[in-house]
């Protein structure tokens, strides 16, 4: 019993006032609204659940085909299909409230006002513990990436969301920019409590037989282990430039992957595409962290954050 108590505190992390049991969360768009994987994973064991991106109105999403496997990963162009913020609060949130886990609502808008409205609605709902602002979706025509690739626009989104909420605000950044640290610093100055990175890298895939793109949307977002080195580099760069916590995302499959992100400067991580090939990836990574700490006599997991030797 005593040992378990030690374990619990050893893995716990705090990000901008958001208390997590452990630093392992699910990445938005890869874990549905939690219920899809509840038969496979005890959701109570997760550090946090970041739900699929929510918009003011339900979104139909892009026409199929929407996904294509690539070397070491996959492309997707789902186009933020979602039930809308109201249905989420009515129908999906009660399910998540049954669990003792941090629920982070990922939000998306086509305008500053929409971001603010979605943020406001979720802040008044019971059972949402933080907001993650998606300014980085590559698969929608309006909003998304256009906000995230311009530091001024990203900062304005951040300000508008902050004005509507008392919850910690995490801004999710896109790698599809020349210098990600400029956007990270801009949202920090605008009041972001943390940044998460990276979203998917824009890519494409072609069927040589038909000479058509594999995705109806032509381009899509690349995820999976193929993007890990890029993500790791960006997390390291951003962590050196901002004082707010950084959440590492991008191709994490194993405990070692997750810990590399933490060494690079991430206070926590999100697991995305790995869920698709192993629904238990998150909890296995948490277990692996426990073993790593015992083996290396590390008392608190946060002790390894930003310990890269250069």
């Amino acid at each position: 019993m005593k040992k378990q108590k030690t374990d619990t505190t050893a893995l716990a992390v705090e990000i901008a006032g958001l208390k997590l049991k452990n630093p392992v969360m699910t990445a938005s768009g890869t874990f549905g609204y939690g219920e899809e994987y509840a038969d496979y994973v005890d959701l109570n064991q997760l550090g946090g659940i970041v739900v699929k991106g929510l918009s003011l109105k339900p979104r139909l999403g892009n026409p199929p085909p929407r996904i294509m496997e690539t070397a070491g990963g996959m492309l997707n162009a789902v186009g933020l299909q979602n039930v809308g913020v109201d249905v989420f609060i009515e129908e999906k949130l009660p399910f998540l409230r049954q669990y003792d886990v941090a629920v982070i609502a990922n939000i998306y808008g086509e305008s500053y006002a929409e971001y603010a409205q979605v943020a406001g609605k979720l802040s008044r709902a019971k059972g949402v513990h933080a907001l993650e602002v998606n300014v980085s979706c590559p698969n929608v025509k309006k909003g998304g990436l256009s906000f995230g690739s311009d530091p001024k626009a990203a900062a304005e989104v951040t300000r508008r969301v902050k004005a509507e909420t008392h919850l910690p605000v995490i801004v999710k950044l896109t790698p599809n920019v020349t210098d990600i640290t400029l956007v990270a610093q801009a949202v920090e100055q605008a009041g972001a409590d943390a940044v998460s990175l990276i979203n998917t890298l824009t890519g494409m895939s072609i069927d040589l037989q038909t000479r058509k793109p594999h995705l109806k949307n032509i381009t899509g977002g690349l995820s999976g282990p193929a993007i890990k080195p890029v993500a790791l580099r960006m997390v390291w760069q951003v962590a050196q430039k901002v004082a707010i916590p950084v959440i590492g995302i991008g191709g994490i499959l194993t405990t070692e992957d997750a810990l590399e992100f933490m060494v690079a400067g991430a206070s926590a991580v999100q697991i995305g595409t790995a869920n698709f090939i192993n629904p238990r990836a998150t909890v296995e990574i948490v277990d692996g962290m426990r073993h790593f700490m015992q083996h290396n006599k590390i008392k608190k997991i946060s002790d390894i954050v930003g310990t890269l030797k250069t």
């Binding site: 768009g29 890869t30 874990f31 549905g32 899809e36 994987y37 038969d39 496979y40 994973v41 005890d42 699929k52 139909l60 999403g61 892009n62 026409p63 199929p64 085909p65 929407r66 996904i67 294509m68 496997e69 690539t70 070397a71 070491g72 990963g73 996959m74 997707n76 789902v78 299909q81 999976g224 282990p225 499959l253 595409t273 869920n275 698709f276 090939i277 192993n278 629904p279 238990r280």
Partner: protein, 271 residues
């Protein structure tokens, strides 16, 4: 936690016709009995290339003393299935499932019509097995229509012919059975099947299902199994979208894995 990923052992994996393989897998007893129409996600244990698991419908299933015996009938169409085709006896695979929903069964229907195009026979074979063994349908009520390009491509009749006596085979080149499209062969017999007394189940290429939807109109009960590229198989990635009419008749994208793979043909929107 009701569900898990199971380790299965390949007990056979044979090329029964050019590019068509029958894989027999032994699974632990904990694996749930599949309902007809359900599928599994399969990947080779310990292998990360191909990256994603592959969705394959269940062709047959039997519970034995030592565990479960599942058969997958599949066609080699790309990288994933090519690699699966290379698996030897004794190889280990990770199986997630049974996944998705199943066909709606009404044992009171006087006529049960199964229509398959090519490899679409696989889920319908499990359905025929279920109808006879579990739903206790009379074999006389069932008629099976199979369409293939040529006699050389006929696969998957082994189990089906035990459950279904009336089998109509159509080939594009006339090398076996009727030289006709399977939908045309069915249409010729349609008068025999009164809409209120008939349940139709179909699986095959999209043009076949689309043509069936034109032939049937709105009067018949018809369910079809659809196929799309999938990543997760459980509804999380929303990658395997198909356009269907929702309750209000508006277009919505449903997930083949979690909302299907079985859909009412009337609801499918052909884009």
């Amino acid at each position: 936690m009701a569900k898990d990923i199971y380790i299965g052992e390949v007990s056979a994996n044979e090329e029964i016709r050019h590019d068509f393989f029958l894989m027999k897998i032994t699974l632990p007893a904990e694996f749930d009995d599949p309902l007809p129409g359900q599928f599994v996600m399969i990947r080779i244990l310990g292998l990360q290339d191909p990256f994603l698991s592959r969705p394959i419908s269940i062709y047959s299933f039997a519970r034995r003393k030592s565990g479960c015996a599942m058969e997958l009938l599949y066609r080699v169409v790309g990288k994933g299935t090519s690699i699966l085709a290379g698996l030897m006896k004794g190889s280990q695979v990770e199986i997630s499932g049974p996944l998705g929903g199943s066909y709606t069964i009404d044992p009171m229907k006087k006529n049960i019509v199964l229509i398959a195009g090519g490899i679409g026979i696989a889920p319908l074979s499990l359905l025929a097995q279920y109808l006879c063994k579990t739903a206790c349908c009379d074999a006389d009520t069932m008629t099976f229509y199979l369409g293939v390009q040529t006699a050389e491509a006929v696969v998957g009749l082994d189990h089906l012919k035990k459950y279904c006596y009336k089998i109509v085979i159509c080939t594009d080149d006339g090398s076996l059975g009727e030289k006709s499209l399977v939908t045309a062969a069915f249409q010729k017999d349609m008068k025999k099947y009164a809409p209120a007394e008939t349940a139709i189940y179909a699986c095959g290429p999209k043009p076949m299902l689309r043509s069936l939807s034109t032939i049937l109109g709105k009067k018949y009960f018809c369910q079809v199994s659809l196929e799309e590229r999938m990543a997760c198989g459980v509804g999380a990635c929303v990658g395997c979208a198909v356009a269907v009419k929702d309750g209000q008749g508006n277009k919505a994208y449903k997930r083949v894995c979690a909302d299907g793979p079985v859909f009412d043909l009337k609801d499918v929107i052909w884009e």
